[in-house]
């Protein structure tokens, strides 16, 4: 069931269109991520959900209630929790008072406030630090205060605006894990904004990829990774190889693409509605979807001979940059492969993983 519904949302600043008539639904209990490069409109969308920004057109419905069209509902009435990029922890209040702020506004009994604040402080790993001022905490701890403050009132919706971007790399990895398990445990409908695709992949149930004010694709992380809607998405999410070419032949569920160098690639992922012969396309294939052989194995489609130009350690795998007919193809291989730079090998581009994108 759609818990948050964004309808035809449009917002511009001066002449710059920030959000261009988008529609989006967030299902109850899921974590949805708005992902895109800076300036794509993701933060503006989030701020419209929060009521910190008023759209020029369109509406946002939370739990079926319109937030703009039937009179503006101010942020304070929306029952949302929000974590800001720069934490926005109030410097003049102690940690406890920062977290208790919203509860005090609801005039809850002192005992209950105390119990709930301590509970949430414990769940974010800050028990015992309630008496400190934010200035006495590290960046990671301040971030936890911000998270605790957002969660303590059991809001209907949790909004997170690039919450990890000010932390250093190691801490970021740990916090994304903690945020996810915490939000899961509380079963909270969340909208998360980030420009970091790895963060988005890990933390979300679904991702909405944005580019220049438009939503270009919505789907589960895996779906977006495996079936990107266009070249922008394929390139922005993860790493991929683009091989330019033209459609040579269209069959029922597969097409052949001729590359600039005359090779034919068989693709099984393509948009059958728009594909026409001679159309210019790019074949996208991920480095980890390419298999490597020392010998040409039988007469299969999509086997190409190449030379290793460069060997690089990248993360948990080894990467070969292979020259196939002057096209550089990146391949992710297990750590223990011994092939050296300059050696020849055969690449198998699995047709199921070859995506033809216009």
């Amino acid at each position: 069931m759609a818990f948050i519904k964004i309808e035809n949302l449009f917002k511009k600043f001066g002449t710059m269109v920030a959000v261009n008539h988008i529609d989006l639904e967030v299902i109850q209990g899921e974590i949805l991520t708005l992902l895109g490069p800076s300036g794509c409109g993701k933060t503006t969308t989030l701020r419209c959900i929060a009521g910190l920004e008023r759209p020029d057109e369109g509406d946002v419905l939370i739990d079926g209630k319109p937030m703009f069209s039937k009179g503006f509902v101010p942020p304070s009435q929306r029952e949302i929790g929000m974590v800001f990029q720069n934490y926005a922890v109030w410097p003049h209040l102690r940690v406890f008072d920062n977290v208790a702020y919203g509860l005090k506004l609801q005039r809850l009994p002192k005992e209950e406030i105390k119990r709930r604040v301590n509970e949430v402080l414990e769940s974010v790993g800050l028990s015992g630090l309630g008496k400190r001022y934010p200035g006495q905490l590290s960046g990671g701890q301040q971030q936890r205060v911000a998270l605790a403050r957002a969660l303590v009132r059991n809001p209907k919706v949790l909004l997170l605006d690039e919450p990890l971007s000010n932390l250093d790399a190691k801490l970021r990895e740990r916090m994304r894990f903690e945020i996810k398990s915490l939000v899961r445990r509380m079963n909270m409908t969340s909208v998360y904004v980030t420009h970091d695709q790895a963060e988005a992949m890990v933390i979300s149930d679904r991702i909405a990829v944005m580019e220049s004010g438009n939503i270009v694709q919505v789907g589960a992380p895996e779906e977006i990774y495996k079936k990107p809607a266009n070249r922008f998405v394929a390139d922005f999410i993860g790493t991929t190889n683009f091989i330019p070419g033209e459609i040579a032949e269209i069959r029922e569920n597969q097409i052949y693409v001729t590359t600039e160098f005359g090779q034919k690639i068989l693709c099984k992922v393509f948009d059958s509605a728009t594909a026409v012969p001679d159309q210019k396309v790019h074949v996208s294939i991920r480095p980890e979807d390419i298999e490597v052989y020392a010998e040409p194995s039988g007469s299969r489609d999509n086997v190409f001979k190449g030379t290793i130009m460069h060997r690089a350690y990248l993360g948990n795998f080894l990467n070969f940059f292979v020259n196939v007919d002057h096209t550089m193809i990146r391949v992710q291989v297990p750590y223990h492969l011994r092939q050296k730079e300059g050696e020849e090998l055969y690449l198998y581009l699995n047709p199921e993983k070859c995506i033809a994108l216009p």
Partner: protein, 370 residues
């Protein structure tokens, strides 16, 4: 030809010692990366090479010259700053030409060098713009361009990518590597991001609390971290650490982690034998833990039952957070894995790639054959 040598360098800010007894040689044409958590003294070390800070003790030389008493301008260096430090009142062209003008290069040569650098970096269309009209990535390129035109003996970089988007960062990383290949100049680069260090450097210098922990080529540091700190800092996800006891049984050695036991490979027995009955910390990288279904046959003797807590699919790889007994472990597994959360999974350890660390600080790694 510039080799940078720092000998016994230390730096105090008031009573705080930011850099302690620093000894480092960066060879000519090397791409050296100083890496460590914030506050580890890496930036201070770089700024001393630049001449922006004065070392409290010790000597610094660039090429054959002792540079302790030379001002930055006479050190034949160029530096790229975290905040870019572009002069806002000058156009891109003037920003890049500034250093050459100061050195009274002929106009024609300045023009040629600026255009050449602009072309390398793909900013030839922006030369007339002011910095504020550029995007973050473009500003970064201008900052690099300003460094290139001078053809200095040494390039210094102070966290130049940390203000960029994740995607742009990856792209700039590759570009800087290429630039190093092309220019063949000594580069010293400071970052807190170990991925940058691993992917760009020819030599990395891991620092903590002002002290060098380890110096070496990336893979050496990755495969043979000297202590627990380096092992934990380099590599992503973080290496798994399990407190354990070493046992001896029927001629073999065992790692006893309480809830499970693992068999140490025979070739490591001589190295680890002195540790029998004592406590240690067992370390294994997430990528060396396999889903039993996809593991090489010879590893399967060391399998352990565990339950999946969290699955982090990253597209090109999947991270599993599992609980084995009382221990939480992270494994990087193949993208083909089809497990779900809370399912039981049998994991196997590639103990040829295991590490053992002393239980007490400084938690040195116990060297092993093979």
């Amino acid at each position: 030809m510039a080799r940078v040598v720092m000998e016994n360098v230390s730096k105090f800010f008031g009573t705080v010692q930011a850099v302690k007894d620093f000894n480092l040689t960066v060879e000519d044409k090397e791409f050296a990366i100083l890496v460590g958590p914030s506050g580890c003294g890496k930036s201070t070390a770089l700024r001393m090479i630049a001449g922006l800070e004065e070392p409290t003790t010790g000597t610094i030389s660039i090429g054959d010259r002792l540079v302790n008493d030379l001002p930055p301008k006479d050190r034949d260096i160029a530096m790229v700053f975290q905040e870019y430090a572009l002069y806002p009142h000058m156009s891109v062209y003037k920003n890049m030409a500034f250093g050459l003008k100061l050195r009274k290069f002929p106009k024609q040569e300045i023009d040629q060098r600026v255009r050449e650098a602009a072309e390398i970096l793909g900013i030839q269309d922006f030369l007339d713009r002011k910095p504020k009209q550029l995007s973050g990535g473009q500003r970064q390129r201008v900052a690099v361009g300003r460094a290139i035109v001078r053809k200095p003996a040494v390039f210094l970089f102070d966290e130049p990518l940390s203000n960029l988007d994740a995607k742009l960062r990856v792209q700039m990383r590759a570009e800087l590597s290429k630039l190093h290949d092309r220019l063949q100049t000594t580069m010293i680069y400071v970052t807190h991001d170990q991925v940058e260090a691993m992917t760009m450097g020819t030599k990395i210098v891991v620092m903590k609390d002002g002290v060098i922990q380890q110096v070496g080529p990336p893979l050496e540091v990755y495969n043979y971290p000297v202590n627990l700190f380096v092992a934990g800092f380099i590599g992503s996800p973080v290496m798994n650490f399990v407190p354990c006891r070493i046992l001896s049984q029927e001629g073999r050695l065992l790692i006893d982690a309480g809830s499970f036991q693992l068999l140490i490979p025979e070739k490591r027995i001589p190295s680890y034998h002195p540790l029998v009955h004592s406590e240690a910390i067992f370390g294994i990288r997430p990528k060396d833990i396999y889903d039993r279904a996809f593991a090489p046959e010879h590893l399967k003797e060391n399998s352990v039952r565990s339950v999946i807590d969290v699955i982090e699919p990253l597209g090109s790889e999947i991270h599993l957070n599992v609980t084995a007994g009382q221990h939480n472990l992270v494994a990087v597994v193949d993208v083909q894995t089809t497990y779900r959360v809370h399912q039981e999974i049998e994991i196997v350890f590639d103990l040829d790639r295991m590490h053992l660390f002393e239980k007490d600080p400084p938690n040195l790694r116990i060297k092993a054959e093979g």
